[in-house]
Every structure is written in structure tokens, then in C-alpha cells.
């Protein structure tokens, strides 16, 4: 149960919501017309509800992980936690090197590109996934939103398809469109009960606020997961459903729809806007209305913005100091993941230690263990920390989906 502001909010699904056409049907028609190949979602998959009552297939395994620039570059525990969850559920995946950024961050920041380039970059990555035999699972909310936009454009505009097909031909790649465009948070949503069944730390005293990522649900809205049991289907259910499954207390706040303040170019070259918005319209509102122990979100820019913007605000005695992380990191922590080896929380700025203490995680001991790892690497005893080092800590409990 989500606790509303003053517990006064009632959420009901609007029965008169206009339903746009299902672009996936056109994707299949275009395949039948010989325009491209549609990569089918591999089994096993989960069927999840989306905004307009349709279902969407979410692959559970055999996934090609389309990594995120900001996650891998600046908050690497985000990506690592997603991989770790797959490993602990015994679900195979591919972490490819034949992958580029979607380049959407740059496009939304600087517009130094065009529709054909953006579509060709997307199609090249889709082709790489198809040729690997694995199905794309997209880590970044902007990549996910941008690829949905690209799919719409490719479906609508034959000339753009011709351009992209021509480019892919010159690259020696097939023109492929995935049957579904799937964000990692949809995978976490789909396996949330399996994660909850493997929980080893109590989350019942943890108060959570959720920031839904703009590019997840505001761009091409029909693909996002909306669950009648979460906010009456009025808001996207990802993240919130995961926190609830883990037994945490999810609390509502009035500015949930606002963006985080990332701004694409602003976070890099105009951070006065980013800091002001993140603190004034998000973190402080959450603190005043919900007093969260942690802010959970599901996109690269949101974690970075909401986490990193708090430091400067401390000087002005603003109401800040709330840790921010992805629901994947939080879920991994609840399942016993190492806060440093896996969740890499030392890359985060806001103080996460009170949260760990509340969850019963001895961060001092964990940091000592991690410092030992670093020392072994420093001395040359190990070149890298490996999955083998990490996998031994928590046993794999295979998730066997019902056929």
C-alpha cells in the first residue's frame, strides 16, 4: 500500500482513457512486408500490464544488456547490481562489447545529430543484439524512451527506413526491430517476487520515496508498465511495486510527476538549474512530506542528479541528506549483495550509511572487506575484482519460471 500525502489520495483508473494504436502491430506488419526482421522475445518471458491495458512480454533470461553511459561511467554499482540480480536468480545474460551508447543524451543535450543518425545507431545496436542471439534489455531510461521514439519514427516514415536499411547494408548488418522494447526496471518488476523471496535484510522500517523517470513513461507512454494494483494504474508501477514486494514503506509526495532536473545539457554545463530543481522541487518536498530513508529511481540521470545535487545545498541549510539509488541496487542490498563490491555505494555522494544500518548491514565491516580487495589489487595480487570473487558470497537460487 502506498501511503499518500495525508493518506487522502484515492487512485482510480480512468475508463475513458483514449487508447492510441499499438505500434507493435505495425512492426509485425512491416516484417510481413519484408521491411525488416522482428526479433522475438525469447522464452521464458513474463507478461506484464501496460498503460492502456495491453500486455507486454518481458524476457526473463537470454538478454543482451544495453548498458548505460552514466551508469557505467559514474554510478557503476547500478549496472553491477542489475547483472548481480541476474546471476543470483540463475538467469543467463550477455554483457556485450559490440554496443554503443544510444547517443540520446547527447542528442537531447546538443541536437548535434539528426533522425537518420539516431535511428541508425539504434538499429546497429539492435542488429548486434540479434546477431548475438540475445534479446536487448535496456539499462538506461533515456535509451529506452529514445528507442521507442525511433521505432515510432521508423514505423511512420518509409524514407527513414530506406535510409537506415541502406546504412545497415553498408555496415553488413541486418535491419532488425525487437518485438518489444524492454527496460531493465520492467525485468526487475517482473521478477520482484523472486527477489523478495530471496531477501535476507528486513526492509519493513525503510521509508522509500520513488522518482519515476521521465523518459521511461513520458516518451511513448503505451509501453510503460501500469499495474491496477499500484496507484490504481494511474502511475507507472515499476520501482514502487519492487519496493513494496520487498516490504518497504513507500510514501507518496506531491511533486512525483516533476522531472529530477537533469536537463541533459544542464547537468553538464548549467548545473545551477539542475541543483535548484533537484533540491527545491524533489528532495526537499520528499523530506517535508514523506521523510524518506532512501529515494529509489530507475534511470541514470535521475540517480546522478538527485544524489549529487544535495552536497552544495547543505551549505544553505536546505533539507537534504537522503541517499539515492536505483531499485536494482536496493533490491540487491536486500538480497545480501555487498554494498561496495556489488552496489559500489562509495561512488554516491549523499550519505547512505544510515540506510544500511537500518537494514542491518554492517557497512564498517563491509568497507574493511572492500579495502582489503583494493589493497590486493594495489599490491598486484589480483588484477581485478571478478564475478567469481563476488558470486561466492550469496548462493544462486535458480528462478525456474512456470512454462
Amino acid at each position: 500500500m502506498v501511503q499518500g500525502v495525508g493518506n487522502s489520495r484515492v487512485f482510480r483508473q480512468d475508463p475513458d482513457l483514449p487508447v492510441p494504436e499499438d505500434v507493435r502491430e505495425r512492426v509485425l506488419e512491416l516484417e510481413a512486408e519484408g521491411e525488416w526482421v522482428v526479433q522475438r522475445v525469447p522464452e521464458p518471458y513474463a507478461e506484464v500490464p501496460t498503460k492502456y491495458g495491453r500486455t507486454k512480454k518481458v524476457p526473463l533470461a537470454h538478454t543482451w544488456h544495453h548498458k548505460s553511459c552514466g551508469q557505467c561511467g559514474h554510478i557503476p554499482g547500478y549496472s553491477t547490481a542489475i547483472f548481480w540480480l541476474h546471476r543470483k536468480l540463475g538467469l543467463e545474460y550477455d554483457d556485450p562489447r559490440d554496443q554503443t551508447s544510444c547517443t540520446g543524451w547527447n542528442y537531447y543535450a546538443s541536437a548535434t545529430s539528426n533522425a537518420a543518425a539516431q535511428a541508425a545507431v539504434a538499429a546497429r545496436n539492435f542488429a548486434a543484439a540479434y546477431e548475438s542471439g540475445y534479446f536487448p534489455l535496456i539499462h538506461c531510461g533515456t535509451s529506452y524512451g529514445h528507442y521507442k521514439e525511433v521505432r515510432e519514427e521508423l514505423v511512420k516514415h518509409g524514407e527513414l527506413r530506406r535510409q537506415v536499411r541502406d546504412i545497415l547494408g553498408k555496415l553488413g548488418r541486418p535491419f532488425v526491430m525487437p518485438e518489444e522494447i524492454v527496460h531493465y526496471s520492467e525485468w526487475v518488476y517482473a521478477v520482484r517476487h523472486e527477489i523478495a523471496a530471496r531477501r535476507v535484510h528486513d526492509c519493513s522500517e525503510v521509508v522509500v520515496t520513488v522518482h519515476p523517470a521521465c523518459h521511461y513513461y513520458k516518451l511513448v507512454q503505451g509501453d510503460a508498465i501500469y499495474d491496477p494494483d499500484i496507484y490504481g494504474g494511474q502511475r507507472t508501477a515499476v520501482v514502487t511495486a519492487v519496493a513494496q514486494a520487498l516490504g518497504a514503506q513507500v510514501r507518496d509526495y506531491s511533486t512525483w510527476f516533476d522531472c529530477c532536473g537533469f536537463g541533459f545539457r544542464h547537468i553538464l554545463v548549467q548545473r545551477d538549474f539542475t541543483r535548484s530543481f533537484a533540491v527545491g522541487r524533489k528532495i526537499e518536498v520528499m523530506v517535508e512530506e514523506a521523510k524518506p530513508d532512501v529515494v529509489l529511481t530507475h534511470d541514470t540521470g535521475c540517480v546522478t542528479t538527485l544524489d549529487k545535487s544535495q552536497f552544495a545545498a547543505q551549505v544553505h541549510n536546505r533539507k537534504v541528506g537522503v541517499p539515492v539509488m536505483s531499485e536494482a541496487q536496493f533490491a540487491a542490498l536486500a538480497m545480501g549483495a555487498h554494498p561496495y563490491r556489488v552496489c559500489q555505494l562509495h561512488w554516491h555522494a549523499a550519505d547512505y550509511r544510515p540506510l544500511l544500518e537500518k537494514m542491518g548491514i554492517d557497512w564498517r565491516e563491509k568497507w574493511r572487506e572492500f579495502e582489503d580487495d583494493l589493497e590486493r589489487i594495489r599490491r598486484g595480487e589480483k588484477e581485478y575484482l571478478t564475478w567469481e570473487d563476488v558470486d561466492a558470497e550469496v548462493p544462486v537460487r535458480h528462478f525456474v519460471p512456470a512454462s
Binding site: 548498458k67 553511459c69 552514466g70 557505467c72 561511467g73 557503476p76 549496472s79 553491477t80 547483472f83 554483457d95 562489447r97 554496443q99 554503443t100 551508447s101 543524451w105 547527447n106 542528442y107 537531447y108 546538443s110 548535434t112 539528426n114 533522425a115 543518425a117 541508425a120 546497429r124 548486434a128 511512420k156 524514407e159 535510409q163 546504412i167 553498408k170 523518459h215 516518451l219 510527476f257 516533476d258 522531472c259 532536473g261 536537463g263 545539457r265 553538464l268 554545463v269 548545473r271 538549474f273 530543481f277 522541487r281 549529487k308 552536497f311 556489488v342 562509495h346 561512488w347 554516491h348 555522494a349 572492500f370 580487495d373 583494493l374 589489487i377 594495489r378 581485478y384 571478478t386 563476488v390
Partner: protein, 238 residues
């Protein structure tokens, strides 16, 4: 006292109307334009949802209305004064009419960049290194961009990250993420394909329009790998 001053259209009085009209028609000619603009109820929902409207003298409603009314003078003003304030979060897609003011702004930005407007160059000042990073490495940001002097407002974690960067990257279990100059390891073949896409779609010409120096550096980096991988590159980056 007026809180919002009216747009000072006279600022661009020396730009011929025909030039403003040409740029307007370039925006309108984009195949995506009809998908982003259907009309406007003047309800202001897009403004209420817009983060930039809370911070700047900026209105997504005005953008949609200006384009719908084909107000060329105001369009040119917005093209120079307003579009770079947009956060591109697409909260304005909440529009009950089905407009996407954020999408319209994307198109306007493309036109501003493609035509090398001074306002676009100014807006992208300081951003060139990021364009270089994404176009040349295939990843938008890299761990080594986190430096204390670049991100002083991020607190001590920026300094600590920079000081321990190589060690901390080695302490990441995924094999693809031990990098410091890219977000993850990208294969050369993959990178060459990305470069080829930039050339084949005219993106290199766009870069030359906004930053000639950056264009030259990118050409040097890209042409070497493209040639190595067997792609023929015509002179001048086409």
C-alpha cells in the same frame, strides 16, 4: 511591474525576414513536425509540468502556439533565446491535445545547430568535450570526467573518485567496465560502424557548422580507424 518582459523582437530586426522564414520552413519540413503539433487549447498544462518554466522565463505553450500560428518573427526570437532552456524531459507530452512541445524544440535545436546560429554555438560552449567523447568513443561520459575542479558541487566524492579512479575501476566485477576513458569497453569494429554512421548521415557536416576545430579533431580520430577497417572516407568528412 511586469514579471515577464515581452520578447524583444527588435533584437533580431537586422536579420532579413526571408532568412527567418527559411529557418521556419526548415523546421516545418521535418517529417516529425506533424506528429508533434496538432493545435493548442491554451490550457497551460505543459507549462505547469515544465521544470524549465519554473526556473527560466520559458514557456513550452508559447513554442507550440508560435509554430501553430506561424509567427515567423517570434519563432526566430525563440530559436535564439528560448530553446536551449528546455530540459528535454518531455513532461510537456502531458498535453491533452497530443502536442509535444519538447519534440518541437528538438527540431528547432537541430535547425539552429545545422545552420550554425551564433546562439547555438554559445549554448554549446563548454559542451564540445562531451560531443567529442560520445562521437569518438561511443559512450557519452567516462569515469575520468569526474574531477574535483569540474564537479566541485558534487562534494568530496568527486575528488576521492578522481584520486582512486584506476583502482576503483579495477574493483568492478563486470569485465567490460574496467575502463577509465570510456564508460565501458567498446570493440573497434563497433566504433568504426558508429563513425561510418556519423559520416553517412551528415552528422559530421553538422559538427563542422557548430565547431570547426572539433570537426577537424574528430575527422583525424575517425578516419584512421575507418581506413583501418576498410571504409572509404571522402575528403572533408562527407
Amino acid at each position: 511591474m511586469a514579471l515577464h518582459a515581452p520578447p524583444r523582437l527588435e533584437r533580431y530586426a537586422d536579420v532579413p525576414y526571408e532568412e527567418k522564414e527559411r529557418l521556419f520552413q526548415e523546421v516545418k519540413a521535418d517529417p516529425r513536425f506533424p506528429d508533434y503539433l496538432y493545435g493548442c487549447y491554451e490550457c497551460g498544462i505543459c507549462v505547469a509540468a515544465c521544470p524549465s518554466a519554473r526556473f527560466y522565463d520559458f514557456s513550452p505553450r508559447k513554442i507550440a502556439q508560435t509554430l501553430a500560428r506561424e509567427d515567423v518573427e517570434l519563432f526566430y526570437y525563440q530559436l535564439n533565446e528560448d530553446i536551449w532552456n528546455c530540459s528535454q524531459c518531455f513532461s510537456c507530452n502531458r498535453c491533452p491535445r497530443g502536442n509535444s512541445p519538447g519534440g518541437l524544440i528538438t527540431l528547432m535545436r537541430e535547425v539552429a545547430v545545422r545552420n550554425g546560429l551564433r546562439s547555438a554555438k554559445e549554448a554549446l560552449e563548454g559542451y564540445s568535450r562531451v560531443i567529442y567523447k560520445i562521437m569518438s568513443t561511443g559512450t557519452q561520459v567516462s569515469p575520468d570526467m569526474i574531477q574535483a575542479d569540474a564537479f566541485p558541487d558534487w562534494g568530496p566524492v568527486a575528488k576521492e573518485t578522481a584520486e582512486n579512479l584506476d583502482l576503483w575501476r579495477r574493483a568492478l566485477p563486470p569485465e567490460t567496465m574496467h575502463t577509465t576513458t570510456t564508460a565501458w569497453e567498446v570493440e573497434d569494429r563497433t566504433l568504426a560502424e558508429l563513425y561510418a554512421i556519423w559520416y553517412m548521415t551528415g552528422t559530421m557536416d553538422i559538427i563542422r557548422e557548430v565547431d570547426e576545430g572539433l570537426h577537424m579533431i574528430l575527422c583525424d580520430v575517425m578516419e584512421e580507424l575507418l581506413e583501418e577497417k576498410g571504409y572509404a572516407v571522402a575528403g572533408g568528412g562527407e
